[in-house]
Symmetry: C2
Subunit: 113 residues, 2 copies
Amino acid sequence: MDTATDTLDKMAETFKLLGDRTRLAILGLLREKELCVCNIVDILHMSQPSISQHLRKMKAGGLVHERRQGKWTYYSLKVEDKPYIQQIVMEIPSQASKLKELDGPSLSTVSCD
Amino acid sequence: MDTATDTLDKMAETFKLLGDRTRLAILGLLREKELCVCNIVDILHMSQPSISQHLRKMKAGGLVHERRQGKWTYYSLKVEDKPYIQQIVMEIPSQASKLKELDGPSLSTVSCD
DNA sequence: TGATCATATAATGATATGCTAATATAAAGA
DNA sequence: TCTTTATATTAGCATATCATTATATGATCA
């Protein structure tokens, strides 16, 4: 296996991470702001283990950064050092509307498309 | 499902296509020039059905264009209309060295990394 | 210390993916 | 027409992936 082969495999692994609707949605959310696991669970209406596993994979793949604070684990994008990945994350349709309730008064205003 | 959801799914499908080592290699080859199936089979040392199936998927996903001429089917990139995909294809490590034998005198010079 | 909250991990099952082997199609030439 | 060449398609199998269920860890607080 030469260097180009290694790079090809690494690229493929990264795109596998991006080839999932839920993970793209998470990246779209993290583009707006750092979030804890429970925020993402609430917003995407998915189970906690499922979100946790997606985040673990993306962390292993170097796409997100983890920060622990008390009971919470906060995740944020880690794409500054990866120009073409950053480009891709910018292309994800905005998830900003789903973040509204985090700033607003009530969870009852969550949009459920 | 809203429009953003559709787009998210489409993006995920595209990245699934890119999340395979063989398909990335094929795209890297097609970046250099249009190729027929048998060329790709020879260069990548993979079975004809496997390559054919990968090409079919990429054609379905709109990444490549098919042109039939006589016994041969030629494939080429179809990414001009997709800026961020085009960007990605440019990032694929060069496969140009593997194309040498197509211009050179003998197949015995094929590089097999 | 015991209870609760936030998150992680493990086990399981269903579906998806990629390769191979075998066969089908279709064009070109003898 | 028969054969060869190039490609496509199908079926089968092994592995990978994703969601769920159940359980574990670890921090906070009464």
